[in-house]
C-alpha cells in the first residue's frame, strides 16, 4: 500500500503575489498594455519634473510680509518685483499683488465687504438648509431662502439702496463676476428649463410647438453666437436712451441658452418615469399642476441630478466666454493684470492660477452633486 506523503507546500511564485502581481495584473498584462504603461511613465517623466520645478522648486515665493487674519507672516524682507523673479520659473508674488483684481475686478476697495458678505451668506444658506433637514416646516424655510437670497445678494453687490453706494456693473469683475454669471445663469434658467421641458411634453399643440422651436433653435446655436448677438447686434436696435446694461444682456443670453439645455435634461427625466405614474396621478384625479408638482417632477428631477449638474458645470466653464464681449471675468483679468507695465508677461502664472481656482470650484460642485444624489436616493435597491 502506497503511502502518500504530502509535499511541503511550495511558495507561491513571486510573480503571483504582492506588488509584482499587482503590476503584472494591472499594468503589464499584455504587451500592448506594457508598451502603453512605459509610454505613460515616460510622458509623466517629461512633464512632471519640469512642471514641479517651474511651479514650486525654482518658483519665487517672496511675498514680503503677509497679513493673514491679524497674524503677519514674513516670507521675505520685501516683496519680489517682476524683475527679481526672472523668467525661468513661476513668479507667485504677481498673483499675490493682483489678488484683489482676480477676486473683485474693479469693484471699489472700500466696498469689497459687500461681495464678501454675499459669500458668507451663501455659505450660511447651505448650512441652514443642511441643519433644517428634519425640521417640520423645512419647505417654507427653504422657499424663503430661495426667494430672499437672490434679492439680498443683488442689493448687497449692486447697491443703490439702503444707504449702499451704487456699484455699476462695469466695475464688477474677477471671480466675483464669474460666480455672479454662473449662479444667475443656473438659477434663472432652471425654472425656465423645467417649464420648457413640460411644454415640450404638453398635449397643447401651440405650447408644444413653441417650446420645441425655442429649444431646438437655441441648441443649434453656439453660446458664443448668442453672446455676440446680445453684445453687438442688440444695441444697434436700441436708441441711446434705451441702452441697457451689457452684463444684463449677457445674462439674459446665457440664461436662455442654459434653459434650453436644462429643458432637454429634464425631458430625459420625464420620459424615464413609467407611464403608470402619469396614469395613476390622473386616476386619483389630480389636476395638471398637482400631478407634475407632486408626482412627476420630484421623480424626474431626482434622476436628472447627475445630468443637471453636468450641464451646470459646463455652463460654469462657458462663462469664461464672456471675455470676448468685454466683461472682465477672472480669465479676462489674466490679460489685464499681466499688461500692467510693472508686471508684464506673467500670463502663464495667471492662467495656472485661474485653472487651479476653477478646478477647486468645479470639483466641489461635482462632489456636492454626488452627495445630493445619495441624499435623494429613496429607491429600494440592494
Amino acid at each position: 500500500m502506497a503511502i502518500y506523503e504530502l509535499n511541503a507546500p511550495k511558495k507561491v511564485p513571486i510573480t503571483q503575489i504582492g506588488a509584482i502581481r499587482w503590476l503584472r495584473h494591472n499594468l503589464f498584462s499584455s504587451w500592448i498594455n506594457a508598451a502603453l504603461t512605459i509610454l505613460a511613465i515616460y510622458m509623466l517623466y517629461i512633464v512632471i519634473p519640469p512642471l514641479l520645478d517651474w511651479m514650486i522648486i525654482s518658483a519665487n515665493f517672496k511675498f514680503g510680509t503677509v497679513d493673514l487674519f491679524g497674524y503677519s507672516i514674513e516670507f521675505s524682507e520685501a516683496m519680489a518685483t517682476n524683475n527679481d523673479c526672472g523668467r525661468s520659473a513661476a513668479c507667485w508674488p504677481y498673483i499675490y499683488e493682483k489678488i484683489y483684481m482676480f477676486t473683485y475686478g474693479f469693484y471699489p476697495r472700500e466696498e469689497s465687504w459687500r461681495p464678501d458678505a454675499v459669500f458668507w451668506l451663501t455659505l450660511g444658506a447651505f448650512i441652514v438648509i443642511k441643519l433644517i433637514k428634519n425640521y417640520k416646516h423645512k419647505n417654507i424655510v427653504f422657499l424663503a431662502i430661495t426667494i430672499m437670497y437672490p434679492i439680498v445678494s443683488f442689493i448687497l453687490i449692486s447697491g443703490g439702496s439702503f444707504g449702499l453706494v451704487h456699484v455699476e456693473t462695469h466695475q464688477w469683475g474677477g471671480l466675483m463676476l464669474t460666480l455672479v454669471i454662473a449662479s444667475v445663469g443656473i438659477l434663472v434658467s432652471f425654472p425656465i428649463g423645467i417649464l420648457l421641458a413640460l411644454g415640450r411634453q404638453s398635449n397643447l399643440k401651440v405650447i408644444n410647438f413653441l417650446s420645441t422651436i425655442f429649444i431646438e433653435f437655441i441648441r443649434a446655436v453656439p453660446l458664443i453666437t448668442i453672446l455676440f448677438m446680445a453684445s453687438f447686434v442688440l444695441p444697434l436696435f436700441f436708441t441711446e436712451s434705451m441702452d441697457f446694461d451689457k452684463l444684463l444682456r449677457a445674462l439674459i443670453g446665457i440664461a436662455l441658452f442654459q434653459a434650453a439645455y436644462f429643458a432637454e435634461v429634464v425631458r430625459g427625466g420625464l420620459q424615464a418615469i413609467p407611464k403608470g405614474q402619469y396614469e395613476a396621478a390622473d386616476a386619483v384625479g389630480l389636476n395638471y399642476v398637482k400631478k407634475n408638482v407632486l408626482i412627476i417632477l420630484p421623480q424626474a428631477l431626482k434622476i436628472s441630478i447627475p445630468n443637471l449638474v453636468g450641464s451646470s458645470i459646463s455652463l460654469f466653464k462657458d462663462t469664461t466666454l464672456v471675455l470676448i464681449i468685454g466683461l472682465m471675468d477672472m480669465l479676462a483679468m489674466v490679460n489685464m493684470t499681466s499688461n500692467d507695465p510693472y508686471w508684464l508677461g506673467r500670463e502663464t502664472e495667471g492662467f495656472v492660477f485661474v485653472t487651479m481656482v476653477m478646478w477647486v470650484l468645479l470639483y466641489s460642485m461635482s462632489r456636492y452633486s454626488r452627495k445630493l444624489e445619495y441624499r435623494f436616493n429613496t429607491e429600494h435597491t440592494n
Binding site: N82, R87, S88, E97, K98, Y100, M101, G105, F106, R109, E168, H170, S231, F232, V233, P235, L236, F238, T239, E240, D243, K246, L323, I324, I325, G326, M328, A332, N335, M336, T337, S338, N339, D340, P341, Y342, W343, L344, G345, E347
Partner: protein, 336 residues
Amino acid sequence: MNKLIKISAVSLLAMGVYSGAQASTLSDVQAKGSVSCGVSKGLAGFSAADSAGVWTGVDVDVCRAVAAATLGDATKVKFVPLTAKERFTALQSGEIDMLSRNTTWTITRDASLGLNFAGVNYYDGQGFMVKSSLGINSAMDLGGAAVCIQAGTTTELNLADWGKANNIDYTSVVSDTNAQTLSNYDSGRCDVLTTDASGLYSMRAASNDPSEHVVLPEIISKEPLGPVVRQGDDAWFNIVRWSLNAMITAEEIGVTSATVDDVSNNPERERLMGRSGNTHEYVGLNSDWTYQIVKQVGNYSESFERNIGVNTPIGIARGVNALWTDGGILYSPPFR
C-alpha cells in the same frame, strides 16, 4: 456672405448715427457726471489697470483730460473695457461717449462707419525686433530670416507688401496670440518678431532678457492712433480734439502740472490757461478747462513719460512722437 454682413452692419450703424445724433453728448456727460470712455481690455502703457485697480496709460490719459475739461475732475471717467470687435458698435450705440483704444485712423473707419477721429495721441507703425546677438542693424539685412507674426492681422499684409517692394525673402512663422508669438520668438523658432512698434516694446519688456533684443529703426506702416467720437455732434468732437491739443500745446509752451499755477507774461500761455481770451466760450466749457487738464493729467510729455517713456519698463523713446520742434511730428494747431 461676408460682404452682405458688412453692408448690413454698416447700414445698421448708419441708423444708429441718425438716432444718436440728436442728443448733445456734452449735456449728457454733465448730467450724469462722468465721461464713458471705451478702452482696451489691457494693453501695457496704453490702457491697463495697476495693482490698485486704477486705470493708467496714454489712452486713459486722453479720457481723463476730457473729464477734467468737461467736469473739472479727471477721476470722473467710467472706463468701459472693449474688445477690438465691439469698440465701434459701443460708440455708435451710445454706450460710450468717446473711444480711446489704440485705434488706427484710416479713411474707411473715418468715412464709412459714422465716426470722427479727433486727433492722434500716438504715432505707431509696424516695426521689427531681433536678438542683438545677430548683429543686425537694419531691416534691409533680414533676407532669408524667419519672421514671427500674429495671424489674421494687418501686420501680415504689411509685411508681405514690404517684402515684395524691397525684394526681401522671408519665411513666416504664424501664431494666434501675442503670448504665443513671443514664446515662439523667445524659443528661437524665428529670428525676427514683427508687430506694431508700441507692442514690440512691451513684448521686449516681457521677454526673458529685455537687454538681449533690439527694435530696428525701420517702420513699415503708418498706424496713427487716436481718440474717436460719434459723427454728428461737432461740439463734442471739438472738446475731445482740443483737450488732446491742449496737452500737446502745454508741452510746447513748457507748462507742466507742477508749474501750471505759476503766472508768467507769455501771452500764449495765459491764453491756454484761460486767464485771457475767450476760447472757452467757443467750446462751451469753463474758462479753466485747459488749466484743469494740465493740472490734473499733465501735458503730453508728462503722460508719455509716466506711462510708456524710457524710465518705465516699456521704455519707448519719443522718436516720431516728439514735438515738431524736437524732430517729431506732434503738432497742435494754435490756441488763439
